[in-house]
Amino acid sequence: MKRIIAHEEHCIGCRLCEIHCLVQHSKSKKIVKAFRTERDRIVPGVKVEESGYVSFALQCRHCDEAPCIEACMTGAMHRDETTGAVLCDVDRCVGCWMCIMVCPVGAVARGADRQVVSKCDLCIGEDVPACVANCPNEAIVLEDEDE
């Protein structure tokens, strides 16, 4: 499957990935509108961690043996059969936070409404995830695992 790889030596900490993740998952998908008028913003599925000049963007690793899927008590957290991505079906999520408890990279977060979790969905349906497409320094790249 395709995975998002973060190159921390190239990450410049601009946080455009977070911004564009939010836009991509907004209702309008228009940046100004998403930020200025849409009320129900998501929690970005990508998070930039920063310490001094070291920084990197991290999102769900879509693990092969995903602890979040194993821990999910409702079956909401599941693997998409075609892409291999680990996705959360928010209609089935009840917000028990088991996934947050077990994710070793801390890539699952409570959603903005604090009812269900929010995580990277690899921008299913897009050729390239928004964070990758909008990273100005190619610090986040999409690579085929087999390569």
Binding site: A6, R61, C63, E70, M101, P104, R114
Partner: protein
């Protein structure tokens, strides 16, 4: 497979589903028979409180999709109880008189709720345990048919408090009766319990600690109230016993399988009889942190053990590294997570904690030999999994101890080696 007899699974919950996944990862062909006492499609046991509260409907109770059995080649025999395992002939008998052969067997019979044996009056209408879908249905129907104004929940543990949450949601005045000195005593320390307690009280919940029910009072066969040991009388129309579950080892013992408090298995989840595996709430799990074997009835463990058992049933060589006790509970909107040893006693433990009264958020880390062995998060639970990972991997945190409780603690605070490890070389280049 040389043995074409089917795999047989007794049980239908997380451990059973994990076993199916473990088998099917490597073997798409050998038939699987799954026998379960409950007639339901595999469902999520923890969701019964949400069902009761009306937050999820029956369809959303399902743990896996309707096509789960079909897609995985599972012959599901539901609503049928296994009455005997014949380890010699490799068959099981069921209460409908049938006999099923197996090549390899998985026992995932789970736990049974505890009800105080010598307590008078528990046969009154309105007294329930709370572990199955059926329990939830019955309570729901009781509430619908009876004018339930007040309820008492015995047990301030996880199940009890989730029941409380549901009842609060339904507008029922609820009182918790807990024998210990605090709620969630198994996983919370005093501070966390107090934070949670304050929160619950804010929702109108009454809590009685250090006491228990000494008598259940009925009226014309209907529940009328309870009398506590300390003399308090609590009138109620609904009483739920949630004082714990014990491994349901009856079948295993009958088959001569070694059992302690639960079924004893090796790290590959095989029981004392070759070809018979066990997983989930029914087994004794080796505690990752203490090494002691004890029942550890939590869902991620059950799934993982099932997966390991399934993989080994088709010739895999997976071993469990041991279970880590942990729980994530959202109590009426207050998120909490607890992992590992949370209320240690002894000089070898170091405690790091921070409490923010204003936001009601509490974080506590328990360290031993510069390694985190326990953690509690109340309120601000973001990225708690990173700590779970550190506990599980027994990472030496002496190099970044002062960062552990900082607001922006993250992977970046961790040593490069560990960072590389957690992202399995697939992510961050270090």
């Amino acid at each position: 497979m040389s043995d074409k007899r089917p795999f047989l699974i007794i049980g239908n919950s997380a451990a059973a589903v994990g076993t199916v996944a473990g088998i099917r990862k490597r073997d798409r062909d050998t038939p699987i028979t799954l026998i379960a006492r409950e007639a339901e499609h595999t469902y999520s046991r923890p969701l019964i409180s949400y069902l009761l509260a009306g937050k999820v409907d029956e369809e959303r109770m399902l743990y896996r999709g309707r096509d789960f059995y079909e897609k995985n080649g599972v012959d599901a025999v539901l609503g049928v109880e296994v009455t005997r395992i014949d380890a010699e002939s490799r068959t099981v008998e069921t209460d409908d008189g049938r006999t099923f052969p197996f090549g390899k067997l998985l026992i995932a019979t789970g736990g049974a709720p505890v009800v105080p044996e010598d307590l008078p009056g528990t046969d009154a209408r309105g007294v329930f345990t709370f572990t199955t879908w059926e329990d939830a249905r019955r309570i729901k129907s009781h509430i619908e048919t009876t004018d339930v104004k007040q309820a008492v929940v015995v047990g301030g543990g996880l199940i009890g408090l989730k029941a409380v949450e549901a009842l609060v949601e339904l507008g029922i005045r609820t009182t918790v009766v807990e024998l210990a000195d605090r709620i969630l005593s198994a996983t919370f320390d005093l501070t966390a319990s107090e934070v949670a307690l304050d929160f619950l009280k804010g929702k109108g919940v009454e809590v009685h600690c250090r006491t228990t029910v000494s008598e259940v009072r009925g009226h014309e066969g209907r529940l009328a109230g309870v009398l506590l040991r300390d003399g308090t009388e609590l009138p109620c129309e609904l009483l739920i016993f949630a004082i714990g579950v014990v491994p349901d080892t009856r079948l295993a013992r009958g088959a001569g399988i070694a059992c302690g408090r639960g079924i004893v298995t090796d790290d590959g989840m095989q029981t004392s009889i070759e070809g018979i595996y066990a997983a989930g709430d029914v087994v004794e799990t080796r505690d990752l942190l203490t090494g002691a074997r004890r029942p550890m009835p939590i869902l991620p463990n059950a799934y993982r053990q099932g997966f390991i058992a399934g993989a080994n049933m088709v010739g895999g060589k997976l071993t469990s590294r041991g279970g880590l006790s942990m729980n994530a509970v959202d109590l009426c909107g207050l998120p909490t997570i607890s992992v590992g040893i949370t209320s240690p006693e002894g000089e070898e433990y170091e405690i790091l904690s921070s409490l923010d009264d204003e936001s009601g958020s509490y974080r506590k880390l328990v360290l031993r030999d510069n390694r985190i062995v326990g953690a509690i998060f109340v309120g601000r639970i973001d990225r708690a999994g990173i700590f779970t990972g550190l506990i599980r991997e027994k990472v030496d945190v002496s190099g970044f101890k002062e960062l552990l409780l900082s607001q922006d603690f993250g992977l970046i605070s961790l040593p490069n080696e560990y960072r590389k490890h957690v992202v399995s070389g697939m992510g961050i280049e270090v």
